[in-house]
């Protein structure tokens, strides 16, 4: 049972490969492209494509995060997280 899906999206020279994106349901994580530069991306007819993985949680998951004011206890419901909205 996979705990991730891989997606392929268009990227450009403006894409920051070192910064990730957040999903509100898993605030301790960042999601990132599998590639770290445009040069690593697949190019088809002048268009660059990167891939990324989401996280699929099959069973409710409790985590403990080191927060500024104490331990943050977070419950992550079943679902797929980290999907880009494009």
């Amino acid at each position: 049972m996979n705990d991730y899906n891989t997606y392929r999206v268009e990227v450009s020279s403006d894409t920051d490969f070192l910064e990730g994106w957040k999903d509100d349901a898993v605030p301790n994580m960042e999601f990132m492209y599998d590639q770290e530069s445009l040069e690593e991306c697949e190019q088809i007819d002048g268009v660059y494509y990167a891939t990324y993985r989401t996280w699929i949680v099959h069973k409710e998951h409790n985590i403990e995060v080191a927060g500024k004011n104490g331990i943050d206890y977070i419950t992550i419901p079943v679902g797929e997280y980290g999907l880009l909205n494009n």
Binding site: Y4, M29, E30, E64, V65, A66
Partner: protein
């Protein structure tokens, strides 16, 4: 928020004077030991100081550093070395060419950092040029932030020390390939970094853990860890080893028979005698027992075993068996290792003697004895004439 005392923030007009006054000691220039009064057979550079403080004292160069270094991190290719003393002082030796760290004086000379005496633990990752420390129970960071090792959700780099703002009390910090492992004063373990192959113990192989998060199995009583140079993490609890991440060569021990990635800290060795896990690379790992024996798991062909055997121990019947005929006296083992390298110079301390080796083609021996040397065997460098030939022994100091 904590502060670091005794660190200049303005122009320094008299560097040596400042550190003599504030730091309590002058610098020790690498390879200056001979001029400091030792004999020809004691030509030891900073590397020996770095590798084992006991050797430092044995070679009578402790006069310039009044406290023993109890932990040393750094090395590799960036000429960054950090050390803490038994009374909580932080010392550093950073070359001027190091661009990522903007510490008070970078002149490849041992200098004390500030005047505080509450530095409890240090770690260094050459890959991202990151230093982290535990100071009076708090985590501190300096270096490049994009590796997600700082663990507070930020990717901002900092050329000087900054305190990581959280409310936990920490005791140990370990840095490795794109990850950090922090242990609290009560033995809970928290990871940050990339989630490659479950190496951060979060149940995910996607993205990264940007904010320090406890392992998914909520281990307690963790006493040691090695973040390694690739996608494996090892933890010590009750003298046993727990592994998460890649397991290509059964590096954590015999109890996990599959070579698939391990999803969350899982018992991999249950002998109950391990004090320290160390030398974790893509290929292998070591552990030192409470009787001073050295355990080994993984591939042996890279000559990382100080007993000069090239035998592998990567099966469910021999991974993490003791090596060197069960000899005791081991107190230290480390490797200079990066995921992109296949030759890992290594250092071990056995019965107080420094041993140098590692690398398929005698890599470390060449660095110590010169390019003409081609020995693939380990050498005993502690208090032997072999050390006399060391021209720049600091090149073999190991990083993570």
């Amino acid at each position: 928020m904590g502060e670091i005392s005794g660190v200049p923030t303005a122009d320094i007009n008299n560097v040596d004077g400042f550190f003599t006054t504030q730091g309590g000691g002058g610098g020790i220039t690498p390879n200056s030991v001979a001029s400091a009064g030792s004999t020809g057979t004691q030509l030891i550079g900073s590397a020996v100081i770095l590798t084992n403080p006991d050797v430092t004292l044995a070679f009578n160069i402790g006069e310039e550093i009044t406290q023993r270094f109890v932990k040393i991190e750094g090395g590799g290719e960036r000429d960054v070395f950090l050390a803490i003393t038994s009374n909580g002082e932080l010392w550093y030796n950073i070359a001027a060419t190091e661009t990522y760290l903007s510490w008070p004086v970078k002149d490849a000379t041992w200098r004390r950092y500030g005047s505080d005496t509450d530095w409890d633990d240090i770690a260094y990752d050459e890959g991202y040029s990151v230093c982290m420390a535990v100071r009076d129970g708090d985590l501190w960071f300096s270096g490049v932030g994009t590796g997600r090792q700082r663990g507070d959700g930020s990717t901002t780099s900092s050329a000087s020390w900054i305190e990581i703002q959280d409310s936990l009390t920490w005791s140990k910090i370990r840095l490795g390939y794109r990850k950090s492992i922090a242990i609290t004063s009560t033995g809970e373990v928290y990871f940050s970094g990339y989630n490659y192959d479950y190496m951060t113990g979060q149940g995910s192989q996607s993205g990264n853990t940007a904010t320090r998060t406890r392992d998914q199995n909520n281990l307690t009583g963790v006493t040691d860890a090695d973040a390694g140079c690739y996608r494996t993490s090892l933890l010590v609890k009750d003298g046993n080893i727990y592994q998460t991440g890649r397991n290509t060569y059964l590096m954590g021990g015999p109890l996990i028979s599959s070579t698939s990635d391990v999803n969350g800290p899982t018992l991999s060795y249950d002998g109950g005698d391990v004090v320290t896990v160390c030398g974790l690379t893509y290929w292998s790992a070591f552990a030192i027992t409470n009787t001073g024996q050295l355990r080994f798991a993984g591939t042996g062909s890279y000559r990382q075993r100080p007993d000069n055997s090239t035998s592998s121990q990567n099966t469910t019947s021999n991974a993490m068996d003791v090596i060197d005929g069960g000899a005791t006296g081991y107190t230290f083992y480390a490797q200079k290792s990066r995921s992109t390298q296949s030759q890992y110079p290594a250092i071990a301390i056995k019965n107080g003697q420094l041993k140098l080796g590692g690398g398929t083609f005698g890599h470390i021996i060449k660095e110590v004895l010169g390019a003409s040397a081609n020995s693939t065997s380990w050498i005993d460098a502690g208090n032997t004439t072999a050390v006399t030939a060391a021209m720049n022994i600091s090149t073999i100091v190991i990083g993570k």
